[in-house]
C-alpha cells in the first residue's frame, strides 16, 4: 500500500506548445465509436509537393495480426514505401480478429482517404481498441468525410494535440513530442511523433 498515490501525469508530460514539420496537416473528430464521445478518429496528410514522400513501418509479430496491420503492410510492400501521403487512425475498436470483413473495412478506410487526397495507394491505416468487434464503418466513413469536407485539417499545436488524443484508448495522457534538429551541414529539420499505449504493452515489432 506504500505505492498508492496520485500523479498528475497530464500536467507532467503533455506539452503546451510545439514545433512542427513543414508540409503536414492533421485533423481529428469524435466519430461516435467511443462511447464516451471523445475524439476517436484522426487523419494526417502530407501537403508537400516539392518531392515524393517516403514511408516505413514496423508491425507486431503477434500471429493474429489485425486487419489494419495486414492492410498497411500490403500498401508499403506494393509501393516500396514511396508516395505515402496519409495516415488514418481510429480508436475504440481494433478491427482485430475480424476476418475478411475486417480487411474490407480497413481497405475502405484507406480508399476513402485516398479519394479525398486524390492519390491512389497512398494511405496507411491503424486501429486500436477492443479486439474481436467489427468497425462501425458508418461512423468511421462519416467521420473521415467530415474531416475533409469541413476542412478540419490544421497544422497548429491544438490540431496536433487533438490528433494525439484521438488515438488514445485508456491512456491517461496524450503522448506528443516535437523537436527541431540540426544536421552536420547546418540544415535544420523537425520531427513530430505521437504514440498511444498504456496497457497490452510489450511490443516486439519487425
Amino acid at each position: 500500500q506504500h505505492g498508492r498515490k496520485v500523479i498528475d501525469k497530464y500536467n507532467l508530460y503533455v506539452p503546451t506548445e510545439g514545433v512542427f514539420p513543414k508540409g503536414y496537416k492533421v485533423g481529428s473528430i469524435a466519430s461516435g465509436v467511443k462511447k464516451n464521445g471523445n475524439l476517436d478518429l484522426g487523419v494526417l496528410v502530407n501537403t508537400n509537393t516539392s518531392r515524393p514522400s517516403s514511408a516505413a513501418a514496423v508491425f507486431t509479430t503477434n500471429k493474429f495480426k489485425a486487419a489494419p496491420v495486414l492492410t498497411s503492410k500490403k500498401v508499403l510492400e506494393s509501393t516500396q514505401g514511396n508516395g505515402i501521403n496519409a495516415i488514418v487512425v481510429n480508436s475504440g475498436c481494433a478491427n482485430a480478429v475480424t476476418g475478411e470483413l475486417g480487411m474490407q473495412d480497413a481497405q475502405e478506410m484507406i480508399d476513402l482517404v485516398n479519394r479525398k487526397i486524390g492519390k491512389p495507394n497512398s494511405t496507411l491505416v491503424m486501429s486500436t481498441g477492443v479486439i474481436g468487434q467489427r468497425l462501425q464503418m458508418d461512423k468511421i466513413s462519416a467521420g473521415i468525410k467530415n474531416i475533409f469536407d469541413n476542412n478540419a485539417l490544421g497544422n497548429d499545436f491544438k490540431s496536433w494535440l487533438n490528433i494525439a488524443k484521438s488515438i488514445n484508448t485508456t491512456d491517461t495522457f496524450p503522448k506528443l513530442v516535437s523537436r527541431q534538429f540540426e544536421l552536420l551541414n547546418g540544415q535544420k529539420y523537425t520531427l513530430v511523433g505521437m504514440a498511444k499505449g498504456a496497457g497490452m504493452i510489450c511490443p516486439n515489432m519487425a
Binding site: Q1, H2, G3, K5, Y13, P21, K22, G23, Y24, L44, N46, N48, R51, S54, A55, A56, A57, V58, T60, T61, N62, P68, V69, S72, Q80, G81, N85, I87, A94, L124, T128, V130, I131, I167, T170, T172, F173, K175, V177, F181, L183, L184, N185, Q187, K188, Y189, L191, G193, M194, A195, K196, G197, A198, G199, M200, I201, C202, P203, N204, M205
Partner: protein
C-alpha cells in the same frame, strides 16, 4: 496496443528510412514493457516528406548516422512516455543490464526482469525484494548460459535523484548482501523514477529496458475494458 507515428520534413530515401526506423524501434519501443502482453495491432510508422530543401538522406549520406541517432533518441523519449502512462503505474523503472557477453542476452535478461509481475508488484509496494529480480534473471529465456555467471553477477538499486550513496548493492559477485540498508532502500524505492542495475561481468555489451510498477489501478482499468 502500441500505436505511433513520426513524421519529418527531411527527405529520406525509403530504404534508409526503413533501416532508421528499425534501428530506432529496436532500441526504444521494442524495449518497453507495461504488462508483458503483445498486441495484435502494434504499429509504428514514419513518413518523410522532403519539405526541407536539402539532399536526400540515403544509407551512404554523411548525415545518415546522425539522423539515425537523432530519430533513435526521439523514439526513446516517446516510448518512455508510454511506460510512464502504464495504466495506473506510479513508478518509471529503468532496467539496465551491463557487461553481458552479447547484446541479445542483455536484452533478454532486462526483458525478463521488466515483465515479472512479482518484481513489478514489489516495486509498487516499495519492497526491496532483490530475490524476485534474481529469480527473473534465472528464468530468462537465454539460448545458453555464457552471459550469466552466478559467481560474478551483481544487482543494485540506483537512486535517480542525485542523493548519496547513489548505488545500493543488493547482490555483489553472486553474494547476497544480507545486511542491506533497508532505510536507504526505502528512500530509493520511494522515488518516482528508479533504476535496477544488473552487472553480469561476462562481456562488454549492455541493454536497457523500461518498465513500471503494477498497481491496483491497472486491475481496475483492465478488469472492465470492453464496456
Amino acid at each position: 496496443t502500441l500505436l505511433g507515428y513520426f513524421v519529418t520534413d527531411l527527405p529520406i530515401a525509403s530504404s534508409a528510412l526503413q533501416k532508421i526506423l528499425r534501428f530506432a524501434t529496436d532500441r526504444s519501443f521494442n524495449c518497453i514493457s507495461v504488462d508483458g502482453d503483445m498486441s495484435t495491432n502494434d504499429t509504428i510508422c514514419m513518413i518523410a516528406n522532403g519539405a526541407v530543401e536539402t539532399d536526400e538522406i540515403t544509407e551512404s549520406s554523411e548525415e545518415y548516422e546522425q539522423v539515425k541517432s537523432q530519430v533513435t533518441e526521439f523514439a526513446k523519449t516517446l516510448a518512455q512516455l508510454v511506460v510512464r502512462d502504464g495504466e495506473g503505474s506510479t513508478k518509471f523503472v529503468t532496467v539496465n543490464v551491463q557487461n553481458s557477453l552479447t547484446f541479445e542476452d542483455a536484452k533478454i535478461i532486462a526483458e525478463s526482469i521488466s515483465n515479472s509481475m512479482l518484481v513489478k508488484t514489489a516495486l509498487y509496494g516499495q519492497d526491496a525484494n532483490w530475490g524476485r529480480i534474481l529469480c527473473a534473471i534465472g528464468y530468462a529465456k537465454l539460448d545458453n548460459l555464457k552471459s550469466l555467471n552466478t559467481d560474478s553477477i551483481s544487482v543494485s538499486f540506483i537512486a535517480t535523484d542525485n542523493s548519496e550513496p547513489r548505488e545500493l548493492k543488493l547482490v555483489e559477485n553472486g553474494v547476497p548482501q544480507l545486511d542491506v540498508d533497508e532505510e536507504r532502500a526505502a528512500q530509493i524505492l520511494a522515488l518516482d523514477d528508479l533504476e535496477v542495475l544488473v552487472d553480469l561481468k561476462t562481456g562488454n555489451e549492455s541493454a536497457q529496458f523500461w518498465t513500471c510498477d503494477l498497481s491496483h489501478e491497472y486491475v481496475t482499468i483492465n478488469g472492465d475494458y470492453r464496456s
